[in-house]
């Protein structure tokens, strides 16, 4: 086959060096990934070969049945697969693709587009900290640091920056395993982590669902 052409060595040399990245030093996983030529092409997985747990299969099939076009079930299917496997692992995607009769590539394209899919193994609990404008005006950036520090490195708790979670009225706030809490004050970060580790509902009194509308809490002079 084609050997390395001229210029190849120069490029190889570049590859050895630390090359400057995006200004914040970030890299997107996959950017530098070549294809693994020992793998087969990723076609639609054949149900005769891929095993899918019946419960997962049922859930995905039920989702497919809800829509006029089965592809609409991509998000529910990925969510189910993520729940079953802990994250959107290649195996999870393969299984969802097998049930949906789409390629795993199709689902990967979808999964990587949305923020709520985890494409790396992640902790048991998800803590989303909103650090968008309204929350950060009220101390969200510091809150994120506190929670991240309290959660430590053991990977049990997956602390993530998140864009506006639609709860600026309780800024700074967090979404813990999909339940909203706020506003968090001094000491709440530590307490949140302790509660989670102890298997308790975290910060129960800060739960958003308990709040009345701000309008109803207005001082008397504003009532109609």
């Amino acid at each position: 086959m084609s050997g390395p052409g001229p210029g190849f060595e120069y490029i190889q040399e570049l590859q050895g060096r630390a090359i400057p990245r995006a200004s914040d030093g970030s890299r997107t996983p996959g950017w530098d990934q070549p294809a693994d030529l020992t793998k087969d092409p990723a076609e639609i997985p054949d149900p005769a070969v891929i095993h899918v747990a019946p419960a997962l299969r049922d859930e995905i099939e039920a989702a497919m049945a809800r829509y006029p076009d089965r592809r609409s079930a991509a998000l529910p299917a990925l969510k189910a697969a993520q729940r079953f496997h802990g994250w959107c692992s290649p195996q999870a995607i393969l299984e969802a693709a097998c049930v949906m009769r789409v390629t795993p590539g199709y689902l990967t394209a979808v999964a990587t587009f949305y923020d709520m899919f985890e494409l790396e193994p992640k902790g048991r609990h998800s803590v989303y900290v909103c650090t968008n404008i309204s929350c950060s005006l009220r101390g969200a950036d510091a809150l994120y640091e506190e929670i991240a520090a309290a959660a430590g490195e053991d990977g049990e708790i997956n602390v993530r920056h998140f864009e506006c979670l639609g709860a600026c009225d309780i800024a700074p706030m967090v979404s813990v395993d999909n339940v909203y809490y706020g506003p968090l004050g001094k000491g709440d970060a530590k307490r949140l982590v302790e509660d989670l580790r102890a298997g308790r509902e975290p910060l129960p009194e800060l739960r958003l669902a308990l709040r009345r509308t701000a309008a109803s809490e207005l001082p008397a002079e504003h009532e109609q």
């Binding site: 709860a167 669902a209 009532e223």
Partner: protein
């Protein structure tokens, strides 16, 4: 100062339960439209002057009338993606009064001759989604949804669809792609969704608040509703006030009241000793206004005249303790993160803008960079596939225009101290 239509019973315990909702007069308007002709429903909506509450402010009745007549699958999609920074009204509405949304959906479906409805709710709103799941099941059981609603010849199915974290899925065509199970990339318009939308069929897309207002319009009558608010901006609006105010939260106001009354009167204004430096009147996509604009009436046309927009009705207040650069960076980073990447000016423009702002922050920029940045915003505006690019370029552009001095001062200071991010 407040005017409660949507919020009238909002804190009623268990309003999310169908029995409580019905006891409060819920679903009466649904019954009413079943016996009205499609045109009659449309004309009530038209008469109300209701403009979309999702951001673009398009007249709701007109939009519903664009759907072609005829015997085909037509779709209604309720936009419950609510991802515009600063906006949290739909969340509160759905959480507390989900049945009003269902009722509104059936009314809108009736107006558009629609038989299949979807609610696209952002994935992060799992609590609200569960409340809706329950409410939808109750509504089906009660015969308010499904085949031949309450024995009439109107049939509407409703499916709740959860997103998975992407702001662009609030843009109506990105939402459609996402609902079809794809990456949420916006589509080229035309064709407009009313002609060719979900699964290629005619599709009406409305915001949660827009739909929830419909039962109120039918209850009051379109003309009566139109008497609320001001000309061009009829009715009430839920505004979400956040940031540097003492009482952040949702307030229902009659459109056209002075903005100051909302920011200071309802939300309590900035903390003591602080003053308003700038504010976004309609979510982070709106060009910023300053303290000088506080007396602008809060309605679609007045805000547009003031150089900004009402958008989603989310007021974010920033007081004088916060550098404008911080706000600009937060804003730009948000749009870079959320740009879908499909079209060039938005994908590259948001990225470039962030990089320039980071350089300003790091003290590595000169005033010429401000000119470049301003020109980049101009290169974005109007040239993108959808308006997400504009949604960054407009506020950033307005910040450069209104706070140029502060940016320059920051540059000088950062250069002198060699400060870095």
């Amino acid at each position: 100062m407040t005017q409660a239509l949507l919020f009238k019973d909002i804190d009623e315990p268990n309003l999310a339960d169908i029995a409580v909702y019905e006891r409060r007069g819920g679903y009466e308007q649904l019954r009413k439209v079943l016996s009205m002709s499609q045109d009659a429903v449309l004309s009530e909506l038209d008469a109300s002057g209701l403009r979309g509450r999702g951001g673009a402010g398009f007249p709701a009745g007109r939009k519903a009338s664009f759907l072609p007549k005829g015997d085909m699958d037509k779709y209604l999609v309720c936009n419950a993606d609510e991802s515009e920074p600063g906006t949290f009204k739909d969340r509160e509405l759905m959480q507390k009064c989900p049945h009003a949304l269902i009722e509104g959906i059936v009314i809108a479906a009736r107006a558009g001759g629609i038989n299949r409805a979807f609610i696209y709710i952002r994935g992060e709103y799992e609590e609200q989604a569960q409340i809706l799941d329950r409410a939808i099941a109750q509504a089906y059981d009660a015969g308010y949804l499904g085949e031949r609603i309450l024995g009439s010849d109107v049939s509407v199915s409703l499916v709740l669809h959860r997103g998975a974290g992407a702001y662009i899925c609030g843009e109506e065509t990105g939402l459609l792609d996402s609902l079809e199970g794809k990456r949420g990339n916006p589509r080229l318009k035309p064709p407009f969704p009313a002609i060719e939308g979900l699964y290629g069929g005619p599709t009406l897309i409305n915001n949660v608040e827009t739909l929830m207002t419909m039962p109120q319009i039918l209850r009051m009558g379109g003309n009566k509703y139109a008497e609320l608010g001001v000309s061009g901006s009829s009715g009430t609006k839920i505004v979400s006030v956040s940031g540097h105010v003492q009482r952040p939260g949702n307030y229902e106001i009659e459109l056209g009241i002075p903005s100051r009354e909302i920011i200071y009167g309802l939300a309590g204004g900035p903390p003591p000793g602080r003053s308003v430096k700038l504010w976004f009147p309609g979510g982070s996509s709106a060009p910023v206004l300053t303290a000088e604009d506080l007396d602008v009436p809060y309605d679609f046309d007045s805000l547009a005249k003031a150089g900004s927009m009402l958008g989603s009705g989310a007021i974010i207040v920033v007081d004088d303790s916060t550098p404008v650069l911080d706000v600009a960076l937060k804003t730009a980073r948000f749009y870079r993160h959320e740009s879908c990447g499909k079209c060039t000016p938005c994908r590259e423009g948001t990225n470039w803008t962030v990089k320039m702002l980071e350089r300003i922050e790091a003290g590595e920029a000169t005033p010429m960079d401000l000119d470049i940045m301003a020109s980049v915003q101009e290169q974005i505006i109007g040239n993108c596939l959808c308006v997400l690019g504009d949604a960054m370029a407009m506020p950033i552009g307005s910040m450069i225009a209104k706070f140029r001095g502060e940016f320059e001062k920051h540059m000088q200071r950062a250069q002198l101290t060699g400060a870095s991010a």
